[in-house]
């Protein structure tokens, strides 16, 4: 039942202070306890209204808003913040590929060619109490330094850079068990200043032709002469907005490394969760 004023104040007459106070007190009582279910239209109050905001300092200041959660991860470029990853965890030996342009085919051994590694400082466990729109943004500065290795594919016997394959990054919602490969793929190349041994050849790139970052799409592919190493550098700049059901999610970036040394320098990650009701 609605609020009802106790005292009417006649027009043109002085308002009595005690009457005004009591009318306001009636309103306070109505707000406090006297609103009954019948006063609220159906579907008026949904999940976003019921969820309470909460501040936690457990793992850095975070605030769970009433409409969802917000998180942020930022690591600057100081060396101690570098996150490393490596292909050596799977004992991959690129020389096993007899023909890099056919790397999509199985290699001649049973060695693992794809292994998903989680990247530190990018993951966050998110508990969703209700259906939500979740937005994950990341800027990762990825560095794959030149690694000089003896290469079985180099028949000249010269020591050449590893400049032959692609490291991939994806987003994952479940800690890396599965990836959003088709919508969040990033490609990364080692930064090799490479020129003379294969000068005049089609490309300094020794990996699968379709993955050549310097590909021309016509003859010749790539440019062999003194390509500055930084032109192979890529950042992982990703944005993913997805609707998720209530549950627990481990959201972050995973790498399928094909280089023996890799680092992520800058981490800038935000996760935004917004509980939604029937209106979305």
């Amino acid at each position: 039942m609605p609020y009802t004023k106790q005292f009417a104040i006649s027009t043109g007459q002085p308002a009595i202070a005690a009457d005004l106070i009591e009318n306001f007190e009636d309103m306070r009582r109505y707000i406090n306890q006297q609103v009954v279910e019948a006063d609220l239209s159906s579907a008026t109050v949904g999940a976003p209204e019921i969820v309470r905001g909460e501040l936690t300092t457990f793992s850095g200041p975070e605030h769970q808003f009433t409409c969802g959660n917000g998180y942020g991860i930022f690591k600057n470029t100081k060396t101690r913040n570098y996150s490393g990853f490596s292909s050596t965890t799977k004992q991959e030996y690129a020389g096993e590929y007899a023909d890099q342009s056919a790397a999509g085919l199985a290699p001649p051994t049973q060695q693992i060619t794809s292994q998903i590694l989680t990247l530190s400082n990018t993951f966050k466990r998110v508990e969703l109490e209700h259906r939500a729109i979740v937005t994950y943004r990341a800027f990762l500065d990825v560095l794959l330094p030149q690694v000089v290795i003896p290469d079985a594919a180099d028949t000249t016997g010269a020591t050449i850079p590893e400049h032959r394959y692609t490291t991939f990054m994806y987003l994952s919602l479940d800690g890396g068990a599965t990836t959003l490969a088709n919508t969040t793929k990033g490609r990364f190349f080692d930064e090799s200043l490479f020129s003379s041994p294969w000068a005049g050849g089609p490309s300094s790139w020794a990996g699968p032709q379709a993955q050549d970052p310097m590909r021309d799409q016509s003859i010749p592919d790539g440019y062999a002469n003194n390509i500055p190493s930084e032109y192979y550098r890529r950042q992982y700049v990703i944005y993913k907005c997805i609707e998720l059901a209530p549950g627990s999610y481990d959201i972050g970036v995973v790498a399928d490394a094909h280089h023996s040394k890799g680092y992520v320098k800058t981490h800038n990650v935000t996760i935004e969760c917004e509980y939604v009701d029937d209106n979305i």
């Binding site: 609020y3 609220l40 890529r234």
Partner: protein
């Protein structure tokens, strides 16, 4: 909510001149009987008590993404809508989401470019490509396309003259752009699309998977 205003508030005059005080309480009474079901942020009472500014909330969400892993070439000299993939075009029309003054359209588009240095040796200065986001809304005269934010100009290579070796720098890069538009007027949001063009027909731009996400957020 109504505000208690003492009209003719001068010494010697009644404090309830023009019945303003009593009207205030009457308004409270009528408002408390009309809990507004369209306002999901209502805590207890009336249509005007809680505004969108109290707790911003997404009122409409439109998204689409292409995940077929197939690169498509765009080489037009005029703006062409990005439309390839397995889920339709970036152009989504037929929407009908009302917005008011201060409401915000929040948009993001991202894609990945595939390498293509076609022709840069001969036309190093012609290697620019453009991208823009268009939003369609109706303020009373019918739906009209408007550019969201600004038009971006990007290049394939690092070389700005015709001498030397140009190095392609665009291959396998992720491209993403976000815009927020705060509407200074009322209307209806009806559509969204992304368009691209090359400065020279001799240049190819190959785009692969993309995704777009647009939200209308209450002011």
């Amino acid at each position: 909510m109504s505000e208690l205003i003492y009209k003719n508030g001068v010494e010697g005059n009644p404090s309830n001149e023009n019945n303003s005080v009593d009207s205030f309480f009457n308004t409270l009474q009528s408002a408390s009987t009309a809990v507004d079901k369209t306002n999901t942020r209502t805590e207890w009472v009336s249509t005007d008590h809680i505004k969108w500014s109290d707790k911003p909330l997404t009122r409409a969400w439109v998204r689409r993404e292409n995940s077929n892993n197939v690169g498509t070439t765009y080489a037009p000299a005029a703006f062409t809508t990005v439309s390839h993939g397995n889920n339709g075009s970036t152009e989504i029309t037929g929407l009908s989401h009302a917005f008011g003054v201060g409401d915000t359209l929040r948009y993001h588009f991202n894609t990945i470019t595939l390498p293509n240095a076609k022709g840069i040796g001969a036309g190093a200065i012609d290697d620019y490509w453009w991208l823009k986001v268009e939003v369609q809304y109706d303020t009373g005269g019918g739906p009209v396309w408007n550019t969201l934010g600004y038009v971006t100009r990007n290049s394939f290579t690092q070389l700005r003259n015709a001498i030397g070796t140009p190095y392609p720098i665009n291959g396998h890069r992720r491209y993403g752009i976000s815009f927020c538009k705060v509407f200074p007027f009322s209307g209806t949001w009806t559509g969204i699309k992304v368009q691209t063009k090359s400065e020279s027909v001799g240049m190819d731009l190959i785009l692969q998977n993309w995704s777009q996400d647009a939200r209308l957020i209450g002011a």
